[in-house]
């Protein structure tokens, strides 16, 4: 290292800011799209696991176990370098990355949804049935809205994990924050500065999301299920 240079030198980081921020935006976009798809998939799988049909329960169980068990890195190279090549599909990096992230997160979210749904007091379901509501309407208007409140914190955590996981998408060439940081770190020969800055950006994203989640949680609990739960426990 040239001794004339300062020990910490972030000038190259500042000058590369537009590229880094664009990478950051791409990372956030990938995580957000992936988590939205994961929510839908996870909900379907959770309902399958709670179904009265044994085969559906089994399929959902295996799905959950598989995607919760497989490391993202292994899944992504399997999808991008294994499956795509074997099937002869030329999958672009960004969709491949988003699909992989979505599948992985849907495994975790299905568990979250399932426990959220099971946490809804059984009396609520009985009351809905007693009114003559169909199973669908009971689920839609009574169970899911209440499960949603319980689910918000773990859902927020999952979103945070998805944001952090986008760093691995650099492996398949998604031009997100980590990929750009790697390229720039090599270019300027300043890995410490670039990776530190990348770390700080991820930290920033995580803090903002966590804060947003706790605000949302407070807002929703303004008229929460808590009082009823406490009464039920006391009885």
């Amino acid at each position: 290292m040239n001794s004339a240079q300062p020990f910490f030198d972030f000038t190259s980081v500042w000058s590369s800011m537009p590229i880094l921020l664009k990478g950051f935006a791409i990372a956030m976009a990938c995580a957000t799209v992936a988590i939205i798809i994961a929510i839908l998939l996870g909900l379907i799988v959770a309902l399958m696991r709670l179904s009265r049909v044994k085969i559906l329960r089994w399929i959902a169980f295996i799905y959950t176990q598989f995607f919760r068990g497989i490391p993202l890195y292994v899944l992504i190279i399997w999808v991008y370098f294994g499956l795509a090549i074997a099937a002869g599909v030329n999958l672009p990096a960004i969709p491949a990355g988003i699909i992989t992230l979505a599948l992985l997160n849907s495994g975790y979210l299905s568990e979250t949804f399932r426990s959220g749904i099971l946490a809804v007091n059984k009396g609520q379901i009985e009351a809905g049935m007693a009114l003559g509501l169909s199973r669908r309407n009971v689920m839609l208007h009574i169970v899911l809205p209440q499960a949603f409140r319980v689910i918000i914190p773990p859902l927020g955590n999952q979103y945070v994990d998805a944001i952090k996981d986008t760093a691995i998408l650099s492996i398949i060439g998604v031009p997100e924050l980590m990929r750009e940081s790697k390229a720039l770190a090599n270019l300027y020969y300043r890995p410490f500065e670039f990776y530190t800055f990348a770390g700080l950006l991820y930290l920033f994203a995580v803090l903002v999301v966590s804060r947003g989640v706790s605000v949302l949680e407070k807002k929703l609990s303004a008229h929460s299920a808590q009082t009823t739960v406490i009464i039920d426990v006391l009885n």
Binding site: I70, G88, V160, F192, Y195
Partner: protein, 224 residues
């Protein structure tokens, strides 16, 4: 049309190399976990310290290291730290250290939860008998906290094991590295990665299952 030729025989041929790679993944993750346990316990004790400054620092470190992706941490340690401070980590050391730092932040949370889960009446009861602070911690609080701590610790380990798969990117010759290397010669990535995936799913699912069992076992003893 697709011209990919499936060749599962390649698995048979390279199985010893793949398993050797798997063993390296296990080693990295176990060393990482050992670091995480020590680092995590220190952080947890810092977070429960009566000193406000210690608390804030420990809280800050936990938050930062939990928020940085393991992948970034790995590059930060291997390229960033080693270049900046002229410490030459081997790939294996860098991998274990990155796992240890990230895992430590998660373990801090686990340990803190475990220590807080012990009924404050236990401490009071010990104090009332005139037992010293350190004896109270090691003989009363810690054994009880351990029960709460073990199952989530196993889950943290599963996370580290899954995270450990990325060490191949800095050149640790783990299972994925072997799979990549072999597939360059044989052009059978699908077969190799499929086997790697199945092995990892089997491994993590069984360890998670073990944690689940442990949780039920230990949970039963708690009310005794």
């Amino acid at each position: 049309m697709n011209s990919y030729k499936f060749d599962w025989a390649v698995i048979d041929k390279y199985l010893p190399e793949l398993l050797k790679g798997l063993w390296i993944t296990l080693e990295v993750s176990l060393v990482g976990m050992a670091i995480a346990l020590i680092f995590g316990l220190l952080l947890a004790m810092g977070r429960l310290s009566p000193l406000r400054l210690t608390r804030s620092v420990a809280n800050g470190i936990t938050q930062v290291f939990r928020s940085i992706p393991l992948f970034v941490m790995l590059f930060w340690v291997y390229y960033g730290l080693s270049l900046k401070f002229h410490v030459l980590f081997t790939e294996f050391q860098a991998g274990a250290l990155a796992l240890g730092i990230t895992g430590g932040a998660y373990m801090a949370e686990v340990f803190r939860g475990g220590l807080l889960a012990v009924d404050p009446g236990q401490r009071e009861a010990a104090m009332a008998m005139g037992i010293s602070k350190s004896t109270t911690f090691f003989h009363v609080i810690f054994p009880q906290a351990l029960r709460v701590v073990v199952p989530p610790s196993v889950n943290v380990y599963v996370g580290l094991l899954k995270g450990a798969t990325i060490v191949s990117v800095i050149g640790v010759s783990d299972m994925i590295y072997v799979a990549q290397y072999v597939s360059l010669q044989t052009f059978t990535p699908f077969e190799l990665y499929s086997v790697a995936g199945i092995v990892f799913v089997a491994l993590t699912v069984s360890i998670s299952g073990f944690a689940w069992m442990l949780e039920r076992r230990l949970g039963r003893g708690r009310s005794e």
